[in-house]
Amino acid sequence: MANTSMQIASPTAVWAVRARSVLGGLRRAPKIPSLVLLVFMIFAAFGQWIAPYSPVAVDMAASFSPPVWHEEGSADHLLGTDKLGRDILSRLIIGARVSLSLSLFVIGLGGGVGVVLGLISGYSGGKVDAVMQRGIEVILAMPTILVALVFVFAVGRSFESVILILSPFLAARFARIVRGETLSVRERDFVAIAKVIGTPTWMILLKHILPNVFNTVIVLATLEVGHLILLESSLSFLGVGVPPPQPAWGLMVADGREFLTSAYWITLFPGLCILAAVLSLNLFGDWLRDTLDPRRRQL
């Protein structure tokens, strides 16, 4: 029986086995970080049905209500309201979507391009590799926040412009690491054999090299989502992120700065959300790296 299953092991079957082992392994994932991430993902996906109010509903009569545990607080607004009387809890829930979706877009776009570039760069070697590596080094040597500041100044403040400017930085990081992995996989026997029997290069990259660098890509993606949430919130805080009235967490922190002495809750909670999300992603990513990719301690 075992023999037959060996014989029919097609690439799809390999992926299926891998998927099953990932699901099995997830049961050993760190509990609290996984739970936090799950909650944020549910907020991001179904926020508009969970949030008690619209995140942009202005209610001047209820402005600056403190959280429920204060004497003047009420159960109407569990975490209080901001200067326009908007419900903080609702804004946090909807804000999860801004942070997570923006980071996922950047991971998809920048990470995708980075993986492709890294595969090509590492596999082809020679001049192509040298030119690509120099380009990557130039990008990595630029101060991200400042470049983003100028770019958004130039093209205008929008969800898309933040994605566009953060993607190249992410692509460079992915490309550098994927290239390194590709360099070693390239030398393995199964690649040489595939080459000998005349497999086209794109097929070798897709079927033989990509699956072998995939673990690294997954770990890197997890850790980079956290990094991106920090970057996005910094840009929002500086006023060049996603434009209002969309409730981005970084923007909410900036909104509360004027009222530090009177209404600390406007700044406290969005920051805690960023901290919880990024911390969970880092802990989860660390666990993932130890499980999938124990060689790569430096990531």
């Binding site: 040597a141 630029m142 101060p143 100028v150 100044f153 805080f237 700044t267 969005p270």
Partner: protein
């Protein structure tokens, strides 16, 4: 190695040129450059003067060469909001940014060295856990929020430290700590892991076998070798501080280059933004160049194929 240094120099110049070109392209593509380089409500006259000054009637490649020529002479134009030369603004604001970076580095070293060393020596004890928790928190906490929370606690609630601005020595504590916090996390991890590597080595075993007291083994034999990567990292960190200073200076209304960058974006003062990007970018590249060359000098084992 001379070849390698020459190559790195060339690469750094390439990076500088790339940043300058990027800025040039941006300045010409946002809209009418004469409009971009003048204040928002200035009249037709001001725009025409600026158009003549920028040579907008000339072909683009001539404008570009003129722009590069001015850069080489460190002429970055004048601010459109107050007419002061951009170079002068940057030179005036530079010391505040650099002092802040230096203080942040000191904070980071003071906290991370003992924690990292103790974490490695007393592995899997409460000290190690504290080091790990701090390293994770440092990586995950948004610096602008940390700064604001510190202001609430130390300035608003306890009234111990000034909430913002640059004044007496104690006004440096909160911004310095905030800027150094994220870097400290990276350093704790680095010190801890490189200390663990060294503690495993033969010469540490040898030192112990000789019967040297543990303090000497750790302090003299292990620590010295574990510190090399930390030194490299410290110089790279100066680059990270430039990125961080944009945010942290904004939180503490610190009169440095980062604040002027953000203010110029708000005022749409393009010459100043352009100047900040070029200065920060150049600095970033020069630090990387310096670190790579130091590396080549210090560690001859590394082979450079380029």
């Amino acid at each position: 190695m001379v070849k390698y240094i020459g190559f790195r120099l060339f690469q750094a110049l390439l990076g500088l040129w790339f940043i300058a070109t990027l800025v040039f392209i941006l300045s010409r593509s946002i809209g009418d450059p004469a409009e971009v380089f003048t204040a928002r409500n200035s009249g037709v006259d001001a725009r025409e003067i600026m158009a003549a000054k920028l040579g907008l009637d000339r072909p683009v490649h001539e404008q570009y060469l003129k722009f590069l020529g001015q850069l080489v002479r460190l002429d970055l134009g004048d601010s459109v909001s107050n007419g002061i030369p951009v170079t002068q603004i940057l030179v005036e604001r530079m010391p505040a940014t650099f002092t802040l970076g230096l203080i942040a580095l000191i904070f980071a070293l003071v906290f991370s060295l003992p924690l990292g060393i103790l974490g490695a020596v007393y592995r899997d004890t409460p000290v190690d856990w504290v080091a790990k928790v701090l390293a994770f928190l440092g990586q995950s906490m948004p610096p602008f929020w940390l700064g604001i929370m510190l202001i609430i606690l130390f300035a608003v609630v306890w009234g111990l430290l000034p909430p913002a601005g640059k004044g007496e020595w104690h006004s440096y504590i909160l911004p310095g700590f905030t800027l150094g916090w994220g870097v400290m996390a990276g350093m704790v991890r680095l010190v801890r892991s490189s200390m663990l590597d060294v503690l495993d080595s033969d010469y540490v075993a040898m030192a112990r076998a000789k019967g040297l007291p543990e303090v000497v083994v750790i302090g003299k034999h292990a620590l010295r070798n574990a510190l090399l990567p930390v030194l490299t990292y410290s110089s790279l960190v100066l680059g990270a501080f430039m990125n961080g200073s944009v945010v942290v200076e904004q939180v503490f209304a610190w009169p440095g280059i980062g604040t002027s960058a953000v203010q110029s974006v708000v005022r749409r003062d393009f010459p100043v933004i352009q100047g900040v990007v070029i200065v920060f970018g150049s600095f970033f590249i020069l630090i990387n160049l310096f670190v790579d060359i130091m590396y080549a000098v210090i560690d001859p084992r590394i082979k450079y194929t380029q």
